[in-house]
Symmetry: C2
Subunit: 351 residues, 2 copies
């Protein structure tokens, strides 16, 4: 079991993060926020996939003004991502936004004070979102490459700035586009502050490389107990981000949802169609919400051991025979042609 680092709990709409609250999964829409219909439609799809906090970009006044209407049609907390313009932040607050994501250094101090006061009055938390791609020029200096130390310096500076204004209702993020800097920066920051941390690798790339980079960085941090909310950034449909995020948290036993499948990579010993079965069983189990562990193993070398730890397993015994193992006991020896049918029946009994 992972022992999570203790952070301050904060409230985003009805949802709490940090403290002992579950690690929350978030995403960001890629529609024009001012297109309320499209934006709401995308958020609904994200909710269905398991998204728990949703962020929208607010680059203009029409987007800010859309927030109230969007909020009414969705069920999860709404976060506004705002850069440079205090007027947009203030409009978002007036529209009833649940959280702001800003980089405080991007606002003149007087305007920032106004935003902080309004958020405090309305109990709206702020994410201080540091990003290696938009670091303050005085911290970067004449360097070409941003270091984790620079990112942490920027985060601490911005957190202290908010605290001086009497604002403490914060989440902090520190994103870089690569694994090494992301992991190092969060590790250093988590030693220095106890605000909840929002984890992510920024600009991670498309589904393939973005998933791998994010799984490595978040995996490494979460295993150390660091992280209270996560976003997987993919150049793709944001629904895919939610799938990946759930898989990451499930694989670490940090959250439970649906079916976990263990299946062998197949080799010369494989006596059943593991690849085909896995695909069929994956399709069969989409949408099942009860946490269930299933194993599909080509032979008995490791198959019996995996079968013992699963709720339900199919294991090739050699020749034409497949074993069905339920809660550690072999309940059936069948011809392999019938394995999927029998498996389906047994799965129904379990869930």
């Amino acid at each position: 079991m992972i022992k999570r680092k203790k952070t301050k709990a904060i409230k985003i709409g009805k949802l709490k993060i940090g403290g002992d609250f579950p690690i929350a999964i978030q995403s960001m829409t890629n529609t024009k926020t001012s297109d309320i219909e499209k934006t709401v439609k995308q958020i609904k799809r994200l909710e269905e996939a398991g998204c728990e906090i949703i962020r929208v970009g607010v680059p203009d006044l029409n987007s800010a003004k859309a927030i109230g209407k969007i909020k009414k049609q969705i069920n999860i907390p709404l976060v506004a991502d705002i850069h440079f313009s205090a007027a947009l932040a203030i409009e978002a607050i007036n529209q009833g936004i649940d959280k702001l994501r800003i980089n405080p250094g991007n606002f003149p101090k007087q305007e920032l004070a106004k935003i902080a006061a309004l958020c405090k009055k309305n109990k709206i938390p702020i994410r201080v979102g540091i990003n290696s791609g938009s670091l303050e020029k005085d911290i970067l200096g004449k360097n070409k490459f941003v270091t984790p130390e620079m990112m942490v310096k920027s985060a601490i500076r911005n957190v202290r700035l908010m605290e001086k204004m009497g604002f403490y209702d914060m989440v902090v993020s520190l994103k870089a586009p690569d694994v090494l800097r992301t992991v190092k920066a969060y590790e250093m920051l988590s030693e220095k502050i106890d605000y909840p941390l929002h984890l992510g690798v920024t600009e991670a790339g498309g589904e393939f490389s973005g998933t791998i980079k994010t799984a490595m960085a978040l995996g490494s941090l979460l295993l150390k107990g660091i992280g209270d909310t996560v976003r997987v950034s993919l150049t793709s449909d944001p629904v895919e981000e939610i799938r990946v995020a759930w898989e990451i948290l499930k694989s670490l036993d940090l959250r439970q949802r649906g079916v976990k499948i263990v299946s062998c990579p197949t080799c010369a010993r494989t006596s059943i169609d593991v690849i085909g079965l896995s695909k069929k069983i994956e399709e069969l189990t989409v949408g099942i919400k009860k946490p269930t562990k299933v194993a599909i193993m080509g032979c008995v070398v490791n198959g019996l051991g995996e079968g013992r730890e699963a709720d339900l397993a199919i294991v090739g015994e050699g020749g034409n025979i497949a074993l069905i193992i339920k809660k550690g006991k072999i309940i059936n020896k069948i011809a392999k042609e019938k394995e999927f049918e029998i498996f389906k029946k047994e799965l129904k009994k379990i869930i």
Copy 2:
């Protein structure tokens, strides 16, 4: 930069692993090994994808006898995966195998001694492959679940057994089907021995969940300097395993190969078609072997920073304008319709 834990260097055919040698990427065929034609064809595809060591299952004598003929037709070291039968191991050695993977506890001691003596004489290293699904019964006892401590106990026992026979030419692996046990087991083992470690999550599942689990476990271990060779186990075409393994090592700057793409997840601020462009650029750059960093960013918020760190970047400036940034300098401001064409030209100049 990751500081790798120092391990003993060993030789597998012409390839060296451990010590300061590059972390090697391996896979396993899923053809019948006795089907020489199919097996060689698959190995050739794997070599082309970047596979550096290939393992074949040897469940019967025909498979063992195929080894010599397979070896002649391939360019990378060949490893035989053998369980229970000393006769198969001996035939594999006689056929000129480059390495054996066994679980020593699976063989009667006298026969194991024979294998060890033959391997020593022929300078064939052995991987002691511990797997949570096939742990010794006396270590498991009456427990249902295998712990990392049990796995390490099994590994140490088997390593010592080989050492007592005067055999020291070893690699060790400790695979479990989940991230937590895998990471914990390797961490503990790497404190106790200095043989090179072969990393992997066993039975990790299909492409989606297997990639995520493996990236998390290997990412966490590699970041700590643990690991000398890796295998990604996927219930899928083994070529996919090689793609994932390379992406993992590339993302940690442990190996270099081809193009690294940074691309933003797009949001309401995006003014160019980042998703479409990313796909086109990914296709364009497949097969390029020169290490090159490319960024595709929807807006200037983080785009200028990412552009600075990339060899070549496209960044949406807003409106109809895209910036082309080369080695940190804006070299072109163009209408976004022309961005791909200009990008392609500039990429050709770089590579």
